[in-house]
């Protein structure tokens, strides 16, 4: 079932600017859909149609099957989390008060609110004992956006809207937060609509990617499919020249690994199990099934090995060979060329 559906939505601003034109697509429940495109392409406007910060000039947006304009905008927004690049924390309120905003608007019991705030701060890796009573201005940029995400998730929304949530952070913090958020995303099972101008972030965060050119949706597919076959020059340009590298980034080790380890690699498995893992050139650090093939390849090269053991919960569950990774990438390219 689709949670959000855009049906021929058009938005023209009062000054005559056409932000989006005849936009139609569905966001599937429980997925992360990333809207990506150059600035001014209408991706943020598209997102704002969902919580009615903007209303379409023509066409309809459906939320769980209902025409969004028949719903009360205040109630609707309280069931949709909202995270923005500028974060917009309330500086006069403590971290706990910020996170408690929506539950309080909804009139939860004080006790339930307290429990929920603690739970979310734990989830966001901000120990409540330390952070509850701090004020936003005492926090770093990364911590502030964690509070922003916690605040958006507080009333357990069906949908989470994120407008360039990590855009204002330094690259290292951004990457950490992306990784953590990928982890959180698996645990919360919320439909997420994520806006970014960075194709790398889109490929990393999205189950599905909607690529926008000015005012229109030019491609809506999974990251792997888009990388395999960009389909148009605009999309290919947008992805950039390092498509193969990006493919490595979005392919998980679990998709290429051999589950039955061939006997030739027994020494590697043994080395990892003994904790004395070394290849010919140096330490061989095992990968996890959810790691990217890029990580696997880089560790293989670093250690001067020909393969790398895949470890989950301390157990070796398979092996990823350099050959398998190479084959996987060239298979994908060929399948596109044939098509």
């Amino acid at each position: 079932m689709s949670t959000i559906e855009f049906d021929n939505a058009t938005k023209v601003y009062d000054d005559g600017t056409v932000a989006i034109e005849n936009l139609s697509f569905e966001v599937e429940e429980g997925t992360t859909t990333v809207l990506v495109g150059p600035s001014g392409c209408g991706k943020t406007t598209t997102m704002k149609l969902v919580n009615r910060l903007e209303d379409p000039t023509e066409g309809t947006v459906y939320f769980e099957g209902e025409d969004i304009e028949t719903l009360d905008s205040i109630e609707l927004r309280r069931s949709i989390g909202y995270v923005i690049q500028e974060i917009g924390l309330f500086d006069h309120m403590s971290v706990a008060e910020n996170v408690a905003t929506v539950p309080e608007l909804k009139g939860w019991d004080a006790e339930d609110i307290d429990d929920r705030v603690d739970e979310l701060l734990e989830l966001m890796d901000l120990p409540p004992a330390e952070y509850r009573d701090q004020y936003p201005t005492e926090l770093s940029g990364g911590q502030r956006q964690r509070v922003g995400v916690a605040r958006a998730l507080a009333a357990d929304p069906d949908v989470l809207l994120m407008d360039e949530p990590f855009g204002a952070l330094d690259p290292i913090t951004r990457e950490n937060l992306q990784d953590e958020f990928l982890d959180i995303q698996e645990r919360i099972d919320t439909t997420i609509l994520f806006v970014t101008h960075s194709i790398d972030e889109a490929l990393k965060m999205g189950d599905k990617i909607a690529i926008f050119d000015v005012g229109e949706l030019v491609r809506y597919d999974t990251p792997a499919n888009i990388l395999e076959d960009p389909g148009s020059e605009f999309v290919a340009d947008f992805i950039g020249a390092d498509r193969t590298l990006k493919q490595l980034q979005v392919t998980q080790v679990r998709d290429v690994m051999h589950r039955d380890v061939p006997a030739t690699y027994d020494h590697l498995v043994e080395a990892v199990t003994n904790g004395s893992a070394t290849g010919t050139d140096g330490a061989l650090v095992p990968v996890e099934p959810s790691d990217s093939t890029q990580t696997a390849l880089s560790r293989i090269i670093q250690a001067g090995a020909e393969a790398i053991p895949v470890v989950q919960d301390g157990r070796v569950v398979g092996i990823a060979t350099e050959e398998a990774i190479r084959e996987d990438t060239s298979d994908r390219r060929q399948s596109h060329e044939v098509a």
Binding site: N51, L53, I74, E75, L76, R77, R78, Y82, I84, E86, I87, G88, L89, F90, D91, H92, T101, V102, L105, Y135, P136, T137, E138, G148, R151, A152, L161
Partner: protein
């Protein structure tokens, strides 16, 4: 007269001695006049703040209304107080009522303007976040915009209080009482001591109320997470609070 006082008079100029003499002879009355003065201003401010803040909030919804209201409040400031009192007497009689009404009118410019400016300066991201999270317009005002604008509004109130303490003295002319009394009687009876002492008390009152409200303003700024140079009083207050 005690010898110590006599020796004081010998080293200080004669007129200072006469001022001290006036203070000693009338200390009870001076205290009650100061309190009376404070009461008049406090009552006027108690009415002026809700009125001014409400107007300041309302005009954020309409730019043209904002221009007109702030312009009118500015015009108000240019009307000589003595003329305004005179205009109000036929309607409200003499004594406190016309003075209170006049003071409320004079205080509107700083209060309305600072409320308006304070609300405009609130980080748009905080307002957008509030809206996106499902706050109604009233909830946004109450939970986000007004609390964040409060230090700026407080600065306007401070400004108004200082203005009112001065203007209230002229209210004595139409029978409102307060520290204007010794000034007017000092003028008509050529008693410089009365004028000087009352003026010093007025300034002292204005400065001390200003300082105390300044502490409140700084505490509000600190609560909003602003990084400011704290006054001695603010630091002392924070120590007492924590």
């Amino acid at each position: 007269m005690l010898p110590t006082v006599a020796s004081n008079a010998a080293v200080t100029p004669a007129f200072i001695g006469s001022y001290l003499q006036y203070v000693r002879d009338n200390s009870g009355e001076l205290i009650s006049l100061t309190l009376q003065h404070f009461d008049i201003v406090a009552l006027a401010i108690a009415i002026a703040v809700p009125v001014g803040v409400t107007l300041g909030v309302l005009i954020t919804f309409n730019d043209r209304a904002a221009t007109v209201v702030i312009w009118l409040a500015g015009i108000m400031m240019t009307v000589p107080s003595i003329a305004l009192f005179g205009l109000l007497i036929p309607i409200l009689g003499i004594g406190n009522p016309p003075v209170i009404v006049a003071l409320v009118l004079y205080s509107q410019l700083p209060i309305i303007r600072n409320t308006y400016v304070g609300l405009q300066q609130v980080d748009p991201a905080a307002v957008e976040a509030g809206e996106g999270l499902g706050m109604s317009r009233i909830e946004r005002l109450r939970r986000v915009q007004l609390p964040i604008a409060l230090p700026v509004i407080m600065a306007g109130v401070r400004n108004a209080v200082v203005i009112l303490i001065g203007i209230a003295a002229i209210g004595a002319f139409i029978g409102a009482g307060g520290l204007g009394n010794p000034i007017f009687s000092g003028i008509s009876q050529a008693q410089t001591a009365r004028i000087v002492v009352a003026t010093i008390l007025l300034s002292g009152l204005a400065l001390s109320v200003d300082y105390m409200l300044g502490i409140v303003e700084q505490l509000l700024r600190l609560r909003n997470g602003e990084d400011i140079d704290q006054s001695v009083g603010t630091r002392a207050c924070r120590r007492v609070i924590s």
